[in-house]
Symmetry: D2
Subunit: 255 residues, 4 copies
């Protein structure tokens, strides 16, 4: 049957997950409450809210990432359609950037299948080594490690680990992710854990669906992209960026 | 120069609006704080946070709206790319649905140009009548009024008005929007204020940029769409929806 | 270096793949010539042009497919941005619909690796059986077979096979695709070859890149979606479609 | 009623605009025939085919335009979803680049309303001057003129004019567009006609719907973007482009 359990509408009321939107939700739910209500049909705990805010904040953009650039270049051609610029920026959230949180969380969940005791450091280390070996055998990248700029370690990771510990979400998947990074270091690879790895560990230790993990990254980034477009309208760089690119090829004549 | 004031990155630190992301922001800013930091470079007041949460919660989807349907139909063909399904759903946030919050806020800001005293009910009523007349003359729709289902009034509007009053954001634009709806009623038109009108009044009375208004709608809806896709994966309706559509034309043979 | 071999621009001329756009291309290249020039840097043979036209024509939409529905629902909200409606429709071209041509072509190329003699029917039949078995073992679907409506066989396939034979592109991949369908029939499965299978066989036998295969599907569909939006503007069905969906859930009150 | 006149499907046949897809269309219609069948329900004349090919070829990308850059940056993050990269590139086809063909064609159609005799040069010149004046009064840009690089004139325009004349499509809208450029020159503005102006004149003189004009631009560009992505996969520049951008702000530390 073509219907949704998320909500329905009558002449006088909108019902979302069994609650009356006007009377029970507006002014009483903040955005993170609503994210959890919409996606899971319940309210988050205080600890979960801290973590969900952390994930959304981490995903909001900083600097001129490919998604911010794509959004700005799209806005340059279609300033009348903000939704197109934002959509353009979100479309890069795939298996390599941002969306990779989903892949990394799934990797951790699969890799931790056989682990029952989070405090068994040896078992966790073995699972990490097995996971790295199996990814290598399948010629697939290990998710959640390495960063082109933060080569000595991603500055976000220690803070995210501390918050996870404080809120009770430093579980088997965080330990596995830590063990993966340690194992790679022992192999002589300069691939410290990055923010994607930390986000993925949090999602897995919160028992969230990895698909929701990617969804949270999209939601957080959405806000970041809006910030970039507001700046682009006020002090545009899109045209200069285009000229800069053209100027790299001496065959082009740039104004 | 091709640069952004939003942030920059060094080997050891990420700076967002002059703050150190790891030390000053993570765990200390919630998502709404981050939205305001990213887009306006400051922290919101407690009252602003209530209102921003209200806007984001209102924008999150309920029921099978066109954007939810578009996202689900896209997911049906490309389940490996959540970002595409979400982008597809956001792309409908234009001048008719959702994105229209921007248009409505701009309409209110323009319409309130000459008004200095919010308590001058007569002046507000005249501005409302002028605005309706000028939109009609330009053959453009009045934004923020009318609803196909909530024909007796949108149930969200009274609650949103109360919250705006409680938080100190019931100003000249809210009054103008109320006066527009009253004027349309006096003309015998069944066009009560809808949630878009309320969102637009809030944005204008908060002195937010109308473009940010559309951006907040996109951000809130992003979360709602993720909820729809999670349900679509668990209990799919996309294929049934397709069959339902085909069955409307008796020339089609549907399985 | 940030540059492209596709083209560059001076004050007086635009160069595309070494040709002067104004003097050498405009009026002398038709669209299919340009597709080949842009993607492969050469001109197509007469036989290739027949096949590329066939692929583009096949990909153009017919009827209310999910991509046409998604485009129409997006247009309903944002009629000022045709590009958003078209993008929305294209985003469903993933691993399940339309884009699956790429996956199917790759499957055929991989499956035909060890085959050297296209006329060795036994070897082809064995490769087909091996491929079906390995897909089953990996719990992955066999691409290019089965259709929800054309349960007795996709009417496009015989015509596409004939044209491929006439133009000299009925090679090892077409034979492998035919053998896969035959093998599935011998297993008692009602999964005849569909248009995706035929498109994939053509792409593989033309030695085109499977990624270009998906690209051709997107290009052809783009035109089909434009047709749907033109009709949607003239005789809209988007709102009725929305009402139809809402009416499926008796809890909704629909106008 | 939720149905389309474009086509329908039975167990044994697909019907498009009243024709049997397998028997009447495949192998008999080339892509441009199919574009016209899908969008207008008829076959194009030989002259129309020349012009439609010209429009599609002109729209295919050359060099690193914003749409090509956006597509490449999106592909960098989500190489598994070509459709997302292409959609990202198309989303910039708005009122400033590419999609502006629609706006320009509408401008010419509106501006030529009162003109009955194409050979009345004085009347055309007056209409051009009126149009420029009214756009200025409305603070809207004149579409179809000016180019950041081709400051002495767009090299595509003379060739497109000649082809239009040869095929019988140099009518009132072409003359008006030429007169607009001449009028701007007489005002001392360095704004010669650009390719968008020529495309718009062609669309208007072919009596095509301006919306279809934008649709043809999207379809042609779609092929160009596929070419860019094929090159990006073979010889990637996305990461270098990102580094190049970051290096513009000395506060960033780039690898």
């Amino acid at each position: 049957m073509v219907k949704t359990e998320i909500g329905y509408t009558t002449v006088d009321a909108i019902t979302v997950r069994g609650l009356n939107l006007a009377n029970d939700i507006l002014g009483k739910f903040d955005f993170v409450d609503m994210v959890v209500l919409t996606t899971m049909g319940r309210k988050p705990s205080a600890q979960e809210k801290v973590m969900l805010n952390l994930l959304l904040v981490t995903a909001a953009d900083h600097g001129l990432t490919p998604s911010a650039l794509s959004a700005r270049l799209t806005y340059l051609g279609a300033p009348e359609a903000l939704q197109g610029a934002v959509a353009s920026g979100l479309l890069g959230a795939g298996s390599v950037f941002l969306g990779t949180t989903q892949n990394a969380a799934q990797m951790l969940i699969d890799g931790a299948q056989g682990l029952s005791d989070a405090s068994d450091e040896q078992a966790v280390a073995k699972a990490a080594a097995d996971l790295v070996a199996s990814m290598k055998a399948a010629r697939r990248p290990v998710f959640g490690v390495g960063h082109p700029i933060h080569v000595n370690g991603d500055p976000r990771v220690p803070v995210m680990r501390e918050i996870s510990q404080a809120e009770g979400f430093y579980g088997i998947h965080w330990r596995l992710m830590d063990a993966i990074a340690a194992h790679l270091q022992s192999l002589g690879k300069r691939l410290p854990m990055n923010a994607v790895g930390a986000c993925a560990a949090i999602i897995a230790d919160m028992k969230l669906d990895p698909l929701l993990g990617r969804g949270l990254m999209l939601t957080g980034r959405c806000a970041g992209l809006v910030g970039h477009i507001l700046e682009e309208r006020a002090t545009p760089i899109g045209q200069e960026l285009w000229d800069l690119v053209l100027s790299q090829d001496p065959r082009n004549e740039v104004p």
